[in-house]
Symmetry: C2
Subunit: 250 residues, 2 copies
């Protein structure tokens, strides 16, 4: 949006000229987004070698980007190459982005997908076996702490407990070198009503108190690697120092 506003502001000429410039910029953004997603996917592929059971949380797929997504990008590419990937998708309460969006888009793409309740992830790791967890990110601090949809932190703890690799895949633009650690990231709390009803169906007593943080912060210590369009980074993460250099390290 910032880019579109700037174009509108700096383009001289008629409304038609501005429209043409905006259209060109929008197409450029879409192309960049597609390229970014594909790049994340290509950097993810080597980490997915041999993986057939992948768990994800929330939606970081084609529905959330202009391309093939971020966390799901490697999955789309692996599937296209004939690697038999089966995705398990946390439903992601309270807004159910995992069951409503991720499961839907993978189903449309013909990729086998199984929905689980968020509270089943640990059992799934032990009883079924999960080769890796991969999630997106809203914001990544300089030290590698990751802010992402609520539930990501608990999932990372369960993955560590079971020795399952935990990957974060996100655009390089998500890395915020000015934010030293996750402690500097304020957590938004959403309306309790999201926890009390679901499209008109009551899920809890009327007016009961509810805790409803929109996201959580997963400490870098629980993250196996962070995959961006610039490459793969592993601990110790230091995005503060490498912010303006090439992070390709994977």
């Amino acid at each position: 949006m910032a880019r579109m506003k700037r174009i509108a502001a700096v383009t001289p000429g008629s409304a038609h000229d501005i429209h043409t410039a905006l259209r060109a910029e929008a197409t450029l953004i879409l192309d960049e987004d597609r390229g970014m997603c594909r790049s994340i996917g290509e950097h993810t592929l080597p980490l997915m070698k041999g993986a057939t059971r992948v768990l994800t949380h929330c939606n970081a797929g084609a529905l959330a980007t202009g391309g093939i997504g971020t966390a799901l990008a490697g999955i789309y590419l692996a599937h296209a190459r004939g690697q038999g990937v089966h995705v398990f998708s946390d439903e992601t309460r309270p807004l159910l982005q995992g069951s409503r969006l991720t499961a839907w888009e993978l189903q449309q793409a013909g990729i086998p997908v199984t929905v689980i309740a968020d509270n089943m992830a640990a059992s799934l790791m032990r009883e079924v076996g999960i080769d890796l967890v991969i999630v997106g990110a809203d914001r990544i601090a300089a030290n590698g702490d990751v802010a992402n949809k609520i539930g990501t932190y608990g999932l990372a703890i369960a993955a560590r407990h079971h020795g399952v690799p935990f990957y974060v895949a996100a655009p390089w633009s998500t890395v915020d070198a000015e934010t030293a650690t996750g402690a500097d990231i304020g957590i938004e709390h959403r309306d309790a009503e999201e926890m009390r009803s679901l499209r008109g169906v009551g899920t809890a007593p009327v007016a009961v108190a509810a805790y409803n943080p929109a996201f959580d912060v997963t400490p870098a210590a629980l993250v196996t690697a962070i995959i961006t369009d610039r490459g793969v980074s592993r601990a110790p993460f230091d995005f503060g120092a490498s912010r303006h250099s090439d992070a390709r390290s994977g």
Copy 2:
């Protein structure tokens, strides 16, 4: 039910006599159940000393028993004694026993309660701070492995990660000395439809696959103590040996 059937079978005389005997037996069972719950609550109280923020999962309260519940029994007693306990209740997907039953009965009892999505438990422990977790049990193996509502295992892992005590409170009758370990407990899987819709509202794509185990097994190693009407047991648990003796060890 087994007791009621036996009474019906062994009581001589008229239908009226059998009715009277069944009524007496039912009252006895209810009294025993009430006493069992109260006993669990009394054994729980010392473990709750100073605790003000308690997290529970599913429903192991008055709605599930003839008395004040099992996991909630100590909470009811602590509240009655003026200990300012605030309960956080996992909603417990997919059937929402935590938000629909536990939150409701605590609200009715005037005990402060806050509903959380299951995936928020780890964040809650870190951001808000939880003094202890207490849950019920469907079945307890001789070695202390605990079968309980799905999600209990992940919660126990999160509790361990944060150094939060994890208690299981259940009737002594739940202890199954004939079952050596949790590995011997078969896990029931329920209809995938429970994960796809909630009272007519779609929560996932029609016909998508869903993983829906009814419960999970928490290994004894993650359990701080098991509280029954006979007392408090701590690791190493050995209910096989103490089955017919007094387990009071707490």
